[in-house]
């Protein structure tokens, strides 16, 4: 009996190892099935209108292109990094789909590691000129185009008019950047707006990527960079004097209770915060609510320097695709002016294509026009570096530690060390 079990165990181990080995070279994207090419695209799950858009458009494409059938797999974003973790897992088994949605700042990371392939064959310079400059900047790594975005994003200051009235504060401007709230005004006013029932502002978008995305603008406005221009070094940048000053400014909001470190979902929407650093994607839900609201520019520095976040999800073709040309065709179609316009309208985000605005309603005035203006005038892309994901999560941990009382300089020193180590370890050598 024992001998039998031993033999059985050994055989099972052998079979498992072989199975593991062959699964490793499998691929999610099937090859040609006769004459039909089957492509898969992964993108995060989204609201009703967006899911409906996908269903409609893919049905349309599949009908018009019987030779190239595309199916979409919607991936749930249970937390800020869940989608990226799923992509990472698929990478280990060479199981990536043909087309992949990539969040803007990760493009450099995936490109540097060969996960996604260049798209230069599918987009001419002329075509790219129709996209916003910040979009092209985000999608380019090493002077090569690796992805394209149909949408952009921006963050502005939403405010609750009733609460501002109650505190006797004038509304910040909606059409003149020079009359936007400055750092000092933002701080003072949120102080006045904090009462027992609601806080002055909501600045914590999430406890991950949202921190560097939204709050990073304060760094830019204070002339503090997080990493070097070429994305290789953090020491001397993230832990510089200006960077520490910026963090000192933000800590005050948490320390004095003007902002919640642990905001409930939809804090501003439910009346628990008087103002909010909210995204262009919030416009839809704020409009649908019965809040008496207004929107103004992202706060500017006391010296008048303005900056605003940019960047959104983009589409890329992965290294595991066996039908790069077919995938390229699909991306070209996806990025057509009509499709970009309808997609951007469904997802309520600014389109990245300038020509798309001729078809989109509501962007000439009001909050949408403000977001658009910011995108084209004060938009700053996040730092471009293959080690970006390390920077993002380290920065988030550091900032959260700082918000719960840790020493700013030592936290940022740790971030610098961690980033530099990661870059030297994996990217500084020539071949990787």
């Amino acid at each position: 009996m024992k001998k039998f079990l031993g033999v059985l165990l050994a055989a099972s181990i052998g079979v498992s190892l072989i199975a593991c080995g062959s699964a490793g070279s499998g691929s999610k994207s099937e090859g040609s099935n006769g004459d039909v090419v089957n492509l898969t695209i992964w993108s995060p799950t989204d609201t009703e209108p967006v899911e409906a858009w996908w269903a409609d458009k893919l049905a349309q494409w599949n009908e018009e292109n019987p030779g190239i059938q595309v199916t979409r797999e919607a991936i749930d974003r249970s937390d800020s990094y869940a989608y990226e973790n799923k992509v990472t897992t698929a990478t280990t088994s060479n199981d990536l789909p043909d087309l992949l949605y990539v969040d803007g700042p990760n493009i450099s990371y995936y490109a540097a590691n060969g996960l996604i392939v260049p798209l230069t064959d599918y987009f001419t310079d002329e075509d790219l000129a129709d996209l916003m400059p910040c979009t092209v900047q985000q999608c380019t790594y090493d002077d090569t185009l690796y992805a394209v975005s149909a949408t952009e994003s921006s963050v502005a200051l939403y405010y609750n008019k009733d609460y501002l009235d109650a505190a006797g504060i004038a509304y910040p401007s909606e059409d003149n950047i020079e009359e936007a709230w400055t750092w000092s005004e933002f701080y003072e006013n949120t102080g006045k707006l904090t009462t027992g029932d609601y806080v002055g502002t909501s600045i914590i978008m999430d406890k991950g990527e949202g921190l560097i995305y939204a709050l990073g603008q304060f760094w830019t406005e204070n002339n503090a960079q997080m990493i070097s221009e070429d994305g290789t070094e953090a020491d001397g940048y993230i832990n510089s004097k200006e960077s520490v000053e910026t963090a000192e400014y933000l800590v005050q909001f948490i320390e004095n209770g003007y902002a919640n470190l642990d905001p409930v979902k939809d804090e501003f929407l439910n009346g628990y915060a008087a103002t909010m650093l909210g995204g262009s994607w919030n416009i839809g839900e704020v409009e649908a609510s019965d809040l008496n609201w207004g929107v103004s520019y992202f706060p500017i520095s006391d010296e008048g320097k303005a900056s605003s976040p940019t960047g959104d999800w983009s589409v890329a073709i992965t290294k595991d695709s066996k039908n790069v040309d077919a995938a390229g065709k699909f991306i070209q179609w996806f990025m057509s002016t009509d499709n970009v316009a309808s997609y951007a309208s469904a997802i309520v985000k600014p389109a990245s294509r300038i020509s798309a605005y001729e078809q989109m309603e509501g962007w000439e005035e009001g909050p949408r026009a403000l977001m658009l203006w910011q995108l084209q005038n004060t938009g700053t892309a996040r730092p471009n570096s293959p080690s970006y994901s390390v920077l993002s999560s380290d920065f988030a941990s550091a900032l959260l530690n700082i918000f719960s009382g840790a020493d700013i300089q030592s936290e940022f020193d740790k971030v610098a060390v961690s980033f530099d180590d990661n870059y030297k370890d994996y990217y500084a050598e020539s071949e990787k």
Partner: protein
Amino acid sequence: MGKKSMSVEKSSYNRMENRAGMLMSIPAVMLLAAFLIVPISYTIYYSFFKYQVIRPDSIVFHGLNNYLNLFKDEAFWQSLRNTVYFTVIVVPLQCTLALGLALLVSGKRRGVSVFRTMYFSPQVTSMVVIAILWTILYNSNANTGLINAFLTNIGLNTIDFLNSPKTAMNSIIFMSAWQGAGYQMMIFVAGLNSIPAEQYEAASVDGAGRWGKFCFVTVPGLMNTIKYVIMITLIQAMKLFTQPYIMTKGGPQNSTKTLVYYIYEQGFQRGHFGYACAAATVFFILIVTLSLAVKKITRTN
């Protein structure tokens, strides 16, 4: 002659039983191999390599460097300390709570089964759901967090449960003990019900009161159950991941980062797969050693 034919029958029956046993063990052994032995072997294998998770094509032999770097990493030692702290506090807390509850509900009084269900119900819900709920309960703002709302109502200051390094781990400990006690309680109830009633009667005859009965009848009768419960709670506690992952993301200031969280973070978030495998191997050795030690201690009793 009768004996000879009986022994022949017996051995052929044994052979049939043996064969049936062998066949039935095939699926279990295959699953064991595929899901336990092979992954563990791979983990130990990769712990000697430099393996960035996003580059499965460039895996480089790295010798013992992963282990050396691991032992130099302050974050690793912090995770170890956090895990040990959690285990050392939660095991006695949870087991005592479970035993107390079990004593309350093991009687045959009417309505006792209602309480049994209530105490067990947190166990039935997914830990993820419970963690999310408690994150809201523990919210530092009295407008949102139920516990802080209660505290301000009775005139006390709010407590920053999950955002202060001093209270975050303790908050998780309390909530974990609350959730897990139900399961241990059921085991204790079964154990209590198996103690013969005559022993209690004998104790009464000898003049033992409630406390005396507890010390001299209940505890000895329950000793094996207690050892078992401590052992499984210990191993469960060392593996803590869900609560810190959902509630605090290892913070604030790494005060709730446990070993398993550290391994996950290094391997998947930072992509240092080889390094994470080294940490996982160390963790594996630690748990095996601990289990063997606990088994040895409780056996010699």
